[in-house]
């Protein structure tokens, strides 16, 4: 087990995976606990980033001759950019309407 985490030959896949898992769950935690929309967006970015790492790593280790994983990572970064732009526009709008940028304002879906 141990050599799958730390190995003289190189960096094992498992190590990358664990790093991405940590980022991912940190993002999830942030998403759950933060009221501020900006903070939630930051958490979402963390989650996306975790996914990107996995794409790149799997491509490199498991499918050496190919490029799909890298391109997925690339596209994801682009999508993240779009998403951020729109999200920020919305957040600014929320702020304009409510005087703050907190998610508790948005409760139209409450039953």
């Amino acid at each position: 087990m141990g050599e799958l985490l730390i190995n003289n030959a190189g960096v094992p896949v498992l190590a990358y995976q664990l790093v991405s898992l940590i980022i991912f769950f940190a993002g999830i935690y942030g998403f759950f606990t933060r009221r501020n929309l900006m903070m939630m967006l930051i958490s979402v970015e963390l989650i996306l980033n975790a996914a990107d790492i996995n794409f790149a790593v799997f491509n490199r280790y498991l499918f050496p001759g190919e490029i799909d994983g890298m391109f997925f990572a690339l596209f994801t970064i682009a999508i993240a950019a779009c998403e951020t732009a729109v999200a920020i526009a919305i957040i600014i709008n929320v702020y304009r309407n409510f005087g703050n940028a907190e998610v508790d304002n948005l409760k139209k879906m409450k039953g």
């Binding site: 999830i28 759950f32 939630m40 998610v103 948005l106 409760k107 409450k110 039953g111």
Partner: protein
């Protein structure tokens, strides 16, 4: 004799015409149109009667004619309701009676109703009533009769409620309609039962005396009696309702709220004898196949006549006295039918009943019109406001006296003959019943002369304005009706109308006649002694106080009805139903809705609207499902 169709069409046309144009026509014009059409109807009827009784006789028997019979509505393979005209001795006789009385009432109303609001409407309704009544007597089948039976009820409702702004009139009209409709329901059920087993509505088939028609009806038993007995008894209940037999008589006294000429036409002469006519129409069935029902009819009639006579003694409203007298007299007719057999001398009762129907129509109409004349002058129905009117109103007085003598059964007035026949028939049947009916005859004489003396004798009362005789349009009918009242008894009725259609010569039973005349005279004398000088108040003997009180309250029958209908049916059952509907049936549906609502309120906490909470649950679920897939 197809022209008899016009007897129906003319009043109908006049009704439609007056009804549609009521606001456009003047009072006078509408009265004239109504009266003119009725005059033509009356002439046609007399002509038809003449032609029928002169020519339509094959051998010794009168024929049944059906100049017109069209299918109106098909009901299955065999049953169909027809609309047609049936002419036989009783229907022709009824034609004469109805058209005569109706014409007189039309003429009379020209004076009596003068200046009333809704005069046109009044004449329209009168025409409608005449049409319905004519249709009823001319029916060729029992369903046609039922149709016109209902129409008669409707026109009666409309006429009783003529003064529709008066709550008592509205209530009386309602009561009359509902009580008779209640009885009609039994009539209808009777028709249903009868028609199911015989597969016909037609009077011709039903009254042919052919037992094959009733084979199935007799052989089917239900609750201890044959279906035919049930059917005929139920049909009689319908007749009893229209003819105000006990215990369905309660509507008739109240119906006096209508205009007096209406009472004369509907509630004395024509509509109320429809029940008698119905029994007479189906008489062959009753007498040949269900004698037990006929016996019941006799007892109901006997009881009713005594019952009504007792109440009539203590009434103070003159129209009510007459109303109860009518009930009592119809009881006579029913008894006569009930005790009758089919053929020859045994069939005397049938003839007597029809005879009495005829004479009664004339003198009772006369009495009512006379009473109307008095009311017109005095503006009150109560006896205590009247007295000594014989000087101011000589014509009314004389004609009224004629009618009183007729109803009391004093020779040679018409009532004597017909009543005598009835008494003879009852004695023939059963002496006890004969004695009972003789007593009723005595009571009749007593209460009628109580009425007569109270109105026309005694001290004159103070009135707001001087009294005077009624106008000619009102006195003419009085005089006209006095003629048959005086002379009607000499018509050889047995030659025309008998149960088996064979002519029958009336034999006066001197014994019975003597007794009845003596009893009547005694009644008159007592009445004279008590009421000729009513300034001396009549004291009720202490032994009869209780009776007096009960009779004044009409033996509390109305109260019993009120209790049953108002308290139990409408307040109890109906309220219970309404409550049940709102709370149980609807409550169930609403409960379903409420339960859904309650449940959704309980679970709506999950829909907090917080995206993070949703995400939390989502992740939780994902992990759970993954775990389940992995470990199970």
């Amino acid at each position: 004799m197809e022209y008899t169709l016009f007897v129906l069409l003319l009043p109908l046309a006049s009704f439609v015409f007056l009804g549609l144009l009521s606001n456009k026509l003047s009072h006078k014009a509408s009265g004239m149109i109504g009266t003119a059409s009725l005059l033509m109807v009356a002439l046609l009827s007399y002509f038809a009667a003449g032609e029928y009784f002169m020519t339509q006789k094959t051998g010794a028997l009168f024929q049944t004619l059906m100049p017109l019979n069209l299918t109106w509505l098909n009901m299955g393979a065999n049953l169909h309701i027809d609309m047609g005209i049936l002419l036989d001795p009783i229907s022709v006789m009824m034609l004469v009676v109805i058209s005569t009385v109706s014409l007189m009432v039309h003429i009379y109303s020209l004076g009596y109703m003068k200046g009333e609001k809704g005069f046109q409407r009044y004449y329209a309704f009168l025409s409608l009533f005449t049409f319905s009544m004519m249709g009823l007597v001319l029916s060729t089948n029992i369903f046609q009769m039922y149709i016109f039976w209902e129409l008669v009820g409707v026109s009666s409702y409309l006429l009783i409620g003529f003064y529709y702004t008066k709550p008592t009139a509205v209530a009386a009209a309602k009561k009359a309609f509902i009580v008779t409709r209640f009885a009609d329901m039994f009539f209808l059920i009777g028709i249903l039962v009868l028609s199911y087993y015989t597969q016909t509505f037609d009077f011709g088939t039903l009254t042919s005396g052919n037992s094959a028609v009733f084979q199935q009806a007799i052989s089917t038993q239900f609750l201890g009696a044959s279906a035919l007995v049930w059917a005929m008894a139920l049909i009689f209940v319908g007749g009893a309702g229209k003819s105000a037999m006990f215990p369905l008589h309660i509507w008739l006294p109240d119906a006096m709220e209508g205009p007096t000429p209406v009472s004369a036409l509907i509630h004395a002469a024509t509509m109320v004898v429809a029940g008698v006519y119905l029994v007479a129409r189906l008489f062959p069935v009753y007498v040949l196949f269900t004698p037990e029902v006929l016996q019941g009819i006799a007892y109901v009639g006997a009881f009713t006549s005594m019952f009504a006579a007792l109440i009539a003694i203590v009434q103070t409203d003159i129209k009510r006295v007459l109303a109860f007298s009518t009930i009592s007299q119809i009881g006579f007719m029913m008894v006569a039918l009930g005790v009758s057999k089919f053929e020859g001398h045994e069939g005397l009762g049938y003839m007597a009943s029809m005879f009495h129907l005829f004479t009664h129509a004339m003198f009772k109409a006369l009495l009512f019109l006379g009473a109307g004349s008095v009311i017109h002058a005095v503006h009150s129905n109560e006896m205590e406001n009247m007295g000594g009117l014989r000087k101011q109103m000589p014509i009314t007085h004389l004609t009224f006296l004629t009618a009183c003598l007729a109803i009391a059964g004093i020779p040679p007035f018409s009532g004597f003959f017909s009543k005598d026949e009835i008494l003879s028939a009852t004695y023939l049947y059963n002496t006890g019943l004969g004695v009972w009916m003789t007593l009723v005859a005595g009571l009749t004489a007593f209460y009628m002369f109580r009425l007569y003396f109270s109105i026309f004798w005694g001290k004159e009362k103070q009135h707001a304005h001087p009294l005077h005789e009624s106008p000619k349009s009102m006195t003419f009918p009085l005089i006209f009706l006095a003629i048959p009242t005086l002379l009607g008894g000499f018509i050889p009725f047995g030659q025309f109308v008998t149960a088996d259609r064979a002519p029958y010569t009336i034999h006066m039973d001197l014994m019975v006649a003597g007794i009845s005349v003596i009893i009547a005279l005694v009644g008159i004398l007592i009445a004279r002694k008590l009421y000729q000088h009513p300034e001396k108040p009549v004291t009720v003997p202490s032994g009869l106080k209780g009776f007096h009180k009960a009779a004044s309250h009409r033996f509390y029958i109305d109260e019993i009805y009120l209790f049953i209908t108002k308290k139990i049916l409408f307040n109890g059952v109906s309220r219970a139903f309404a409550w049940f509907d709102r709370h149980v049936v609807d409550g169930f549906i609403n409960g379903l809705a409420t339960a859904t609502d309650w449940f959704s309120i309980r679970i709506r906490g999950f829909q907090s609207g917080e995206i993070q909470w949703y995400a939390w649950v989502f992740l939780f679920g994902t992990l759970l499902i993954t775990a389940l897939i992995l470990f199970i």
